[in-house]
């Protein structure tokens, strides 16, 4: 069984001396290796146990000893076993054929593995070496190129997959020759480059990249400025995420994190979706495996799976590979961003990754930080989120990675270290509230605690004004204000009693209830309501504000609730009807009649 790393090993280990070592200690998946020769921090090595090669990563070097974390079970491992170092960090193969695949955290193709159970030491190829791709050259001989420049492209599920100058190459190169249009496998040479010393480099459609390093083959990274439509109203309207933006969803169990993430992954206006299922339930991943090949992408009409890569390191798979899984996912995202695509990456849940770091730090007997997490957790988290972003490529084209992670706070407490570290690293905060989940107000994103910092960006305000309407940002801020005032009014009513406050308090409260029920709550299981296009969101916002702004007259507080309940019911029926349909217009008409009847005269 060929390891995905082997192809590269033959390249990188041309240096005759391979460092080797012997196992001298074992504490769960931390193995101590007595090494003869040089080795690097984060270098990958293989422990040979009963003929099976177990992959491991160096996480500490100390006096001729390497402390390595093994990506497999260490059961039965003995001191004295041989360890072979590879000379490189954890790397993955990048090339056509990454989409519509199901990988483990190390990008082993799960579908080509044999048997029902995962076998220790079984590694499968990331890319299909036999498949031929229709290659079209984009560069021509004589062109000067640098890392990340597009040499050609192949069609991958209707998506232009650019074949790039490998990210690892440093400096300028001249294209000496390029393959003609035709069919090639990922391992055939498609271009020959020459560096300034006249040395020739052959380029195939596959390249390798160390996952823990950010791919920086772009010119610059401006502040994000374009909305990424998700069809989820509480996000798009109230707390927008942007192309190249970062966000996170913390929430206790049962508050709907996974449903939320799945809705975003299905509906978002992205070219490519990378989903990292990191330390979560296997049955949830099975749901993705089962549904995504069947469901349509609302933007292209093709199957969702065609634009998606799923990286599954479920909670029962080796813990060390959990950390690798989010880095592998981010590397694939960066690869597609460099081709000029809009990439959406989702990781569920980053807390499990942090816990994997904690387990290892504990075994290494490092001094712990809060809740026994490693001290550098906030730095690790923020470095990772910083790999997202909107970029201008060297050829002037643009690409983006929008990254949304979920966090599973212990005991639902948002003051725990992972939530706090993530809050500092991200710009959108979608707080799932147990209270809203309990009262079945879904999605259970708290409208008052949640925020999108991007709304404050003048760059975004400008594009929103152009794309939606000049008043949009002002309207959104008003809606937020209505929610806050409604909450205050509700508190007053609860303290003082229904009849001890003026009718105005009731009106303020019920106005916020309209916004809550019609705009914020959304039925993820209804075919129409599940996804609201931006223009429809704008229509509803205009309508809601019109109703809210119309001065109404009531003779007493008893009249307020029945009136608004009916209004809400009709607005909800509009949400369930196709936009502009006859039913939709009828409900609107009935609604406006009710409002007119109540309108205060004078």
């Amino acid at each position: 069984m060929a390891s995905p790393l082997e192809a590269n090993e033959s390249m990188s280990t041309t240096t005759e001396n391979i460092t080797t070592g012997k196992v001298s200690g074992i504490i769960a998946n931390l193995v101590i290796v007595q090494v003869e020769g040089p080795f690097a921090q984060n270098e990958i090595c293989y422990i040979v146990h009963n003929g099976v090669r177990l992959m491991a990563e160096v996480i500490k070097a100390s006096g001729g000893l390497a402390y390595v974390q093994v990506f497999e079970s260490t059961r039965g491992l003995r001191p004295g076993s041989t360890v072979e170092f590879t000379g490189h960090m954890l790397e993955v193969s990048l090339g056509p054929g990454l989409l519509s695949r199901n990988y483990d955290g190390l990008l082993n193709n799960l579908d080509t593995m044999s048997g029902v159970f995962l076998k220790r030491g079984e590694y499968t190829d990331t890319l299909d070496a036999k498949k031929k791709w229709d290659f079209e050259p984009l560069a021509k001989p004589g062109d000067t190129v640098i890392a990340g420049d597009w040499l050609g492209e192949v069609d991958e599920n209707g998506i232009a997959h650019r074949i790039m100058v490998p990210f690892k190459l440093e400096g300028q190169f001249t294209v000496k020759s390029i393959a003609e249009a035709g069919q090639y496998t990922t391992n055939e040479t498609i271009a020959m480059l020459v560096d300034k010393n006249g040395e020739q480099i052959s380029v195939t459609m596959t390249q390798r990249w160390p996952v823990k390093k950010a791919v920086k083959a772009y010119r610059n990274k401006p502040r994000p400025f374009k909305l990424l439509e998700t069809g989820v109203r509480i996000i798009d309207t109230l707390n927008p995420i942007v192309e190249g933006g970062t966000g996170f969803i913390p929430g206790p169990f049962g508050s709907g994190k996974t449903v939320m993430q799945q809705a975003i992954s299905k509906q978002a206006e992205a070219d490519i979706v990378i989903m990292a299922a990191c330390g979560e339930r296997a049955n949830e991943v099975v749901e993705l495996f089962t549904e995504f090949p069947e469901l349509d992408d609302p933007w292209t009409g093709r199957k969702l799976m065609e634009r998606t890569t799923i990286i599954a390191n479920t909670s029962n798979m080796p813990v060390a590979a959990r950390e690798a899984s989010v880095y592998s996912a981010m590397t694939i995202a960066e690869y597609y961003r460099s081709m000029g695509h809009k990439v959406l990456m989702l990781a569920d849940s980053t807390s499990r990754w942090a816990q994997a770091l904690r387990e290892m730090s504990n075994r290494m007997e490092e001094l712990p930080g809060p809740d026994a997490f490693p001290m550098d957790l906030p730095a690790i988290v923020s470095n990772f989120y910083a790999r997202a972003g909107y970029v201008y490529l060297n050829n002037g084209k643009t690409g983006s990675i929008t990254f949304i992670g979920t966090v599973s706070p212990a005991g639902g407490n948002l003051k725990e270290p992972v939530t706090e570290a993530t809050k500092k690293a991200t710009r959108c905060f979608y707080a799932l509230s147990q209270q809203r989940a309990d009262s079945k107000r879904y999605p259970a994103i708290d409208p008052i605690d949640s925020y999108s910092k991007y709304l404050e960006y003048p760059e975004l305000q400008k594009t929103l004004a152009e794309a939606i309407s000049p008043e949009w940002t002002g309207q959104v801020n008003r809606l937020k204000n209505i929610m806050i005032r409604g909450k205050e009014a509700a508190e007053q009513i609860n303290i003082l009693g229904d009849d001890s406050v003026s009718v105005d308090y009731h009106l303020t409260f019920w106005k916020s209830e309209i916004v809550d029920a019609v705009l914020l709550q959304q039925d993820a299981f209804d075919a129409i309501d599940a996804r609201t296009p931006l223009q429809r969101q704008r229509y509803m916002v205009d309508l809601l504000l019109e109703i809210i702004d119309t001065p109404l007259h009531f003779d007493g507080f008893e009249e307020v609730q029945p009136f608004y309940k009916t209004i809400i019911d009709k607005l909800r029926q509009m949400n369930y009807s196709p936009h502009g349909s006859e039913a939709f217009q009828r409900y609107r008409h009935e609604l406006m009649e009710m409002v007119t009847e109540r309108t205060a005269v004078g």
């Binding site: 799960l110 495996f289 798979m317």
Partner: protein, 438 residues
């Protein structure tokens, strides 16, 4: 284990703590079993030629010159059809006086199922208890715990569920069971004439707590034999997982690990997930379903054990004593089965989802009415009807002594709706009202 390493005997223990002993030994495998002065132990740490053994029954009275014999293999279980009907201890040795099992020897705690080889669970498990079948339907391949306070009858409910579920095999993993509860399980299975399809691995409160750590793996290894090799539907009962987690914390404490929340080891999530994720639906019909018990302390679900469990399992079931009817019910508000969406209205009658939601909504209205009453406000006529409905709903459907089919549960709900409400108040889709209103 084809070639068994030559057994070497060591007689010089360098260090002894309450749960571990360390000695110099060579050619020892990680997680290998050993006997220390005749007591079972397992390798938990190797540094150079220093090998640390965790002695399951504790180290009281062990001498520094005690005999240490390595077994050359990790803990194993001999599997075969003869397991059926038998009772074992945490090491897989019979405790029912019967003969030893002669079968294929398998490592316990084996590898995980490749997620792409799993099938999406879709087969309903009928228990006859409406609090489960109607509101929180269980599905084969699911993992779900009872969250219960120690004084609640969770073992009784679990035994009832197990006996009514149409499982080919029921495997009981008892951890820290009191002797009384152990005898209860034994009796109830015997009386039901179900002994031939039951296998038990039991660690009672009389046994050393650390031994418990082997119980779930033993039970799940047996489960995998029947689900994979025999393509059977297997139901695994694990009680009490809180005591299992407590044993984990004892061990990590004695190995000087830094505790995280609630004195639990930092790896608690992974440790529990490794077990619960053994629940699986295979494509060829075999399945493992896990029903567990996590006892709570004063109903606190933010404690690390229930909290981590909640993130792993596919829902949870809460028991509550309903003082109105004097019976234990399955709490419809806090209980949740995440997989019910896969079967309700699909494998059951079309009106199931709507009836379920309508009944719970009306039950919630009753709860509000009760609060009003307690605060001294007047009740409306509607409030009074919801209270009557709630009492009947509790008694006829939520109580754990109910035993009827799902269709009958739906009909019962419709009867209650008609008795207490108008169709508009029930607010169910019109076509269902026309078809099923009593």
């Amino acid at each position: 284990m084809e070639t068994k390493a030559l057994q070497r005997i060591y007689t010089k223990i360098g260090q002894i703590t309450k749960a571990t002993c360390t000695l110099k030994a060579t050619d020892v495998g990680y997680e290998e079993l050993a006997l220390v002065d005749g007591r079972p132990a397992q390798v938990v740490k190797i540094v150079g030629d220093n090998v640390t053994l965790q002695v399951f029954s504790g180290t009281e009275g062990i001498r520094t010159n005690a005999e240490v014999v390595f077994a050359g293999k990790p803990p194993t279980l001999k599997v075969g059809d003869e397991l059926a009907g038998r009772f074992f201890n945490a090491y897989g040795d019979p405790i029912d006086g019967g003969p030893k099992i002669e079968g294929e020897e398998r490592d316990i705690g084996g590898p995980s199922v490749n997620p792409v080889r799993r099938k999406q669970p879709s087969e309903l498990i009928a228990t006859g208890i409406a609090g489960i079948d109607l509101n929180n339907s269980l599905v084969t391949g699911q993992k779900i715990p009872f969250f219960a306070d120690p004084d609640q009858p969770f073992n009784q409910v679990m035994a009832m569920v197990a006996l009514r579920a149409e499982a080919d095999k029921i495997i009981l993993g008892g951890m820290g069971l009191t002797n009384d509860d152990y005898l209860f399980f034994k009796d109830i299975f015997e009386n039901a004439g179900a002994l031939h399809r039951i296998i038990s691995f039991v660690n009672t409160t009389e046994d050393p707590p650390v031994e418990r750590l082997l119980v779930p793996d033993m039970a799940l290894t047996a489960a995998e034999y029947f689900a994979v090799d025999k393509k059977e539907k297997v139901l695994v009962l694990l009680t009490d997982m809180t005591l299992y987690a407590d044993a984990l914390s004892i061990v990590s404490n004695r190995m000087d690990q830094i505790p995280s929340k609630d004195s639990m080891p930092g790896s608690l999530y992974s440790d529990l997930a490794r077990l619960y994720e053994k629940a699986v639906q295979f494509a060829d019909g075999g399945s493992i379903t896990i029903i567990a018990v996590t006892t709570l302390s004063g109903g606190d679900i933010t404690h690390a054990i229930p909290d981590n469990t909640g993130y792993i399992t596919e829902g949870q079931l809460f028991l509550r004593r309903d003082t109105e009817i004097g019976k234990v019910i399955i709490d419809p508000f806090r209980s949740l089965s995440r997989l019910k969406q896969l079967v309700i209205g699909k494998k059951t009658r079309e009106d199931h989802p709507q009836v379920m939601n309508a009944a719970i909504r009306l039950y919630a209205d009753a709860a509000n009415a009760r609060t009003k009453l307690e605060n001294g406000f007047d009740l409306t006529e509607y409030d009074k009807r919801t209270l009557d409905f709630a009492k009947a709903y509790s008694d006829k459907l939520l109580a754990i002594d109910v035993n009827i089919g799902t269709t009958e549960m739906l009909d019962t709900a419709w009867t209650l709706f008609a008795k207490h409400f108008s169709p508009a108040e029930v607010a169910v889709k019109k076509e269902f009202v026309e078809k099923y209103w009593k």
